[in-house]
Symmetry: C2
Subunit: 169 residues, 2 copies
Amino acid sequence: MVILAGTGLFDFSVENSIMNAKKSNFKYIRNMLSKKTKYGIKALAFIAKRGDKKPVQTSEISKSENISQKFLESILLELRKSGFLGSKKGKGGGYYLIKEPEDILMTSVIRVLEGPIAMVPCVSLNYYEKCDDCPSEEACSVHSLMIQVRDSTLKVLGDNTLADISAKK
Amino acid sequence: MVILAGTGLFDFSVENSIMNAKKSNFKYIRNMLSKKTKYGIKALAFIAKRGDKKPVQTSEISKSENISQKFLESILLELRKSGFLGSKKGKGGGYYLIKEPEDILMTSVIRVLEGPIAMVPCVSLNYYEKCDDCPSEEACSVHSLMIQVRDSTLKVLGDNTLADISAKK
DNA sequence: CTATTAACCTATCGGATTAGTAGGTTATAA
DNA sequence: TTATAACCTACTAATCCGATAGGTTAATAG
């Protein structure tokens, strides 16, 4: 549990009334981490927890993690094609890790499943795109802010490996 | 310009080939910062740069920042209703800041325009929602990772005020 | 008093994406 | 040869984004 009280980060008494008024009928729209990515990470962690290199079947992960099997199939397939997993067909088949969990960074997993990590294309390292509306990125008030967000997110995701997040608790 | 070489954060030589193969026809989908929020921040910065308290018209911001005027109208209206802006109708009317730029945190602006800052509902402070699939958040491999991302993002957005991002360069 | 201005309000819409579902084919092991 | 599990292709309902259209209300200038 992370203790955040007193840090000053979450003191927004001024707009709390607005938040509360809105909260009641506010659906969580901004799913920045898609279910696809979430399921993919969970599946990788599930396989990593096994320790051995024996293939794990999609059906087992699907049941254990409450994920639609067909949907999960497509995700694991993508992870195989991206070089994270190996596969074996037929009875006793399934998916297994190719690299060690310690060598799998969360940045690379998320980049493959979700796409860019940056919140806006104009600060993306791997998927850069210029903004239509901005004549100058230097003068853009959003640009430098989003660079800071990107870097802090990259730091966290780059510091975490599959081994870290699949450690048994 | 931020120098990141040698930090180890962006070394993904293993999957670089995958990235490149995918990059060509990859549209930037994951727009975590909507245009609405982006335009809203730009507009606030535009008004803040004025310094005085004279109302700024939507049309002026629209032209200067290349934003659809009608779309911008709805955004500024929302910012007024959220307590960031005041307004004045008729000739010489427009929008003006109610608080000092130094007192407007980017967290609060983004929360109002975009919604939650967390990437997943289950780690959101203001818009918490339990996951359907997770029996236990403690055991969830994604949960703790997303808490770290949330906190680092909150740190950045909480450290930046409107004054910071609208500083003339 | 009237015209102009600019905020304010309501409704609608095309395109894109997400999270699947359906129904099959191929390769491997017992 | 049969069961198994990965692999492949196509489709869909629901949802959201980024607008656009067309008006109403309130304040100011002349």
